[in-house]
Amino acid sequence: MIVKKIEGYVFVLPAVLFMIILIGYPLVYNVVLSFQDVDLSNLAGDRNAVGLDNYRELMNRDAFGLSVWNTLVYTVGSVFFQMVIGFLLALYFSMKFRFAGYLRGIMMISWLIPLTVTALLFRFMMGSSEGIFNQMLMSVGIIDSAIPWLSSPEVALWSIIIANIWVGIPFNMLLLSTGLSSLPEDVFESASLDGANGFQKLVHITLPMLKPVILIVMMLGFIYTFKVFDLVFVMTGGGPLNSTEVLSTLAYRLSFNEFNFSLGAAAANVLFLILLVVSLVYLWIMQKDEGGDKI
């Protein structure tokens, strides 16, 4: 018995070591850093513990509250529309028409393009005078004057959300498609025999049976979206004003523009804490769903 137990630990040891060195250490280092006063001058020298000062200073910065809010709006807005559109497309491609498989494959392209490239493309397309978005919308008469996609503080965040929705749809569609194809056919057949129409089948059969998949896609989407950096950094750099500043770009700016590494670490930790809570909820859902043997 005992030998068997030790054997088991030996087998997980490499994975545990890997986790501790590459994931655990940076996390702990970042937490320690956020309780110190580190800038370039004492990065390698004497560091002073300052307790919660960094977190207090962070709270006092106008940009902080705004960046938390922006991150939430960005995440909820992106995930909601990605899910809805992804779900509709998944339903559409589940109709098994000719070429459906190929077309679904082609849809994946937007997810495969490196995010920096996507960000640059959208930045060009969303230019207010020369961008193709405004030119198209104006030529068909949907809008009269150019929309300042990325240069107005009121619009810029939504412009980035639009870009991100485009990026995220295929991922949602693919997971939901897989979920849809795993639903048993016979339930639908018997509903049809009972005279249920398509909409009734969707609301009363498809959605309830798909609920676990939807929840997991939502959680993954939230985690993936909440830590956005590249899209925002390339499209607006957090501007105009602080209208598109999110937690990750704030942390970057504090660390590498102001060289206030401790303050940057504090901002990164706030991001981490929020995601930790969401991840725990995700693990809880997984556990409930699969009978508790999955962690």
């Binding site: 993936y224 970057y252 660390s255 102001e258 590494f261 991840s279």
Partner: protein, 416 residues
């Protein structure tokens, strides 16, 4: 999930490990063994030049290494946006170069953070020092001491599309009033009269600085009639429709692209974009002149300084410094790469710059080019300036409110 949620700060460490390795492979540890020994070895140098500038600089290094057998200079390319990050990584990991090129605006803050060697004792007895321009030299100083020397300089000027100005029958504008008037005349459905970069980054502060300085204001005198006037003027260009709100998200490279496509009649930009314009649109006819003035012509100084890392191989580094700045060699390099030398004797003694059709436009500009700051707090100050400019251009604040707010913040920053 934990893997996905690592904070940005923790990246410092991972990067530190990587870059440490690469430097070790080159056989350079911290260089402390060299301090007493004098001529004993190796000088590592970080540069961020690309293209022609890089090729010629690498040749220079090779030439130096061949010219003597005591010191070996090893150049290492670091992309420009990463210099500050790599330096911080180097400090954390204990692996730093001996020499580093810096954006001149960062020189003072790195000096204040004890990263750079005080070169005052070295340059004081150096007869070449008196030939340097005052502005560039100032940019490498902190608390009255020298923490580097200016290597290459640039400044911002007004680029104008000659064809469009001729069609409208106007000369390049000299004053703010003319700029406003002509910009409005030149604007139509397809062409913007004027653009600057008001983006939320150092570029935005860089571009705003000439307008601020031209009124007589400065970053420590923002809430004044002059400071407010500079914002009012830029706002008026936008209200007239002569400047698009796109400038809030436009980098200087974006401006150059629009200018090359002839969608833009006038813009503020620097000499590094000349090549881009002539290669992207060989038919483009353009000229460069001083940025129109309010009280006086003013521009802003950009460029790179060369500095020695504190407690590194100072002696050998200084030898290379002196060799690099020898007039003939330095003139050759700056002329071949089309940058402006930081030495007055060279810029004035050579006809390369004054005879080049485009660079000649920058010769008078260089004389009025002010370094930003110099202040060790420049990164924070710059942010205040960027925000003030954007607040006004997005109609979030009046120029008065923006400048009052900005001045309060700058008082806080310098008060700390």
């Amino acid at each position: 999930m934990f893997k996905k949620t690592m904070g940005v700060g923790s990246l410092i460490l991972l990067l530190g490990a990587c870059s440490g390795e690469s430097i070790d492979e080159m056989g350079n540890t911290e260089g402390e063994t060299d301090v007493e020994g004098g001529n004993s070895g190796e000088v590592t140098l970080w540069y961020y030049f690309t293209g022609n500038q890089e090729d010629l600089f690498v040749e220079l290094i090779e030439e130096y290494n061949d010219s003597q057998d005591e010191v070996e200079v090893v150049g290492e390319y670091i992309p420009f946006p990463d210099i500050a990050q790599q330096l911080s990584v180097g400090i954390a990991g204990g692996n730093l170069p001996d020499l580093v090129f810096l954006d001149n605006v960062d020189n003072a803050s790195f000096a204040a953070m004890d990263v750079l060697e005080d070169m005052t004792p070295l340059v004081e007895d150096w007869e070449e020092l008196e030939h340097f321009y005052e502005g560039p030299l100032q940019s490498a100083m902190h608390d009255g001491k020298h923490y580097g020397l200016p290597f290459a300089s640039n400044a911002l000027g007004l680029y104008y599309n000659e064809e469009l100005l001729n069609e409208a029958g106007v000369e390049p504008p000299e004053t703010w009033d003319e700029l406003r008037e002509y910009a409005e005349m030149l604007t139509n459905d397809h062409i913007q009269g004027f653009a600057m970069s008001a983006v939320r980054s150092e570029e935005g502060a860089f571009q705003f600085y000439p307008f601020l300085k031209s009124t007589g204001a400065d970053y420590d005198r923002l809430n004044t009639e002059e400071g407010i006037r500079s914002l009012e003027f830029l706002k008026s260009l936008m209200d007239d429709g002569s400047m698009s709100s796109d400038v809030l998200n436009a980098t200087q490279d974006d401006l150059a692209r629009q200018f090359a496509q002839e969608n833009l009649a006038m813009m503020i930009n620097g000499p590094w974009n000349i090549d881009r314009l002539t290669s992207e649109n060989p038919d483009l006819e353009f000229g460069i002149t001083q940025i129109p003035r309010d009280e006086e012509h003013a521009s802003v100084l950009g460029g790179e300084n060369l500095a020695i890392i504190r407690d590194s191989n100072v002696e050998d580094s200084w030898e290379f410094f002196q060799w690099l700045f020898e007039p003939e060699r330095y003139e050759q390099y700056t002329a071949d790469t089309g940058v402006f030398p930081a030495r007055q004797d060279i810029l004035e003694g050579s006809d390369f710059w004054s005879e080049d059709p485009y660079l000649s436009g920058f010769v008078p500009i260089m004389e009025d080019a002010h370094p930003r700051g110099p202040s060790p707090e420049w990164p924070q100050i710059s942010e205040v300036l960027q925000l003030a400019l954007q607040e006004v251009l997005t109609d979030s604040s009046t120029p008065e409110e923006a400048m009052e707010n900005a001045e309060n913040q700058i008082d806080d920053i310098s008060g700390e």
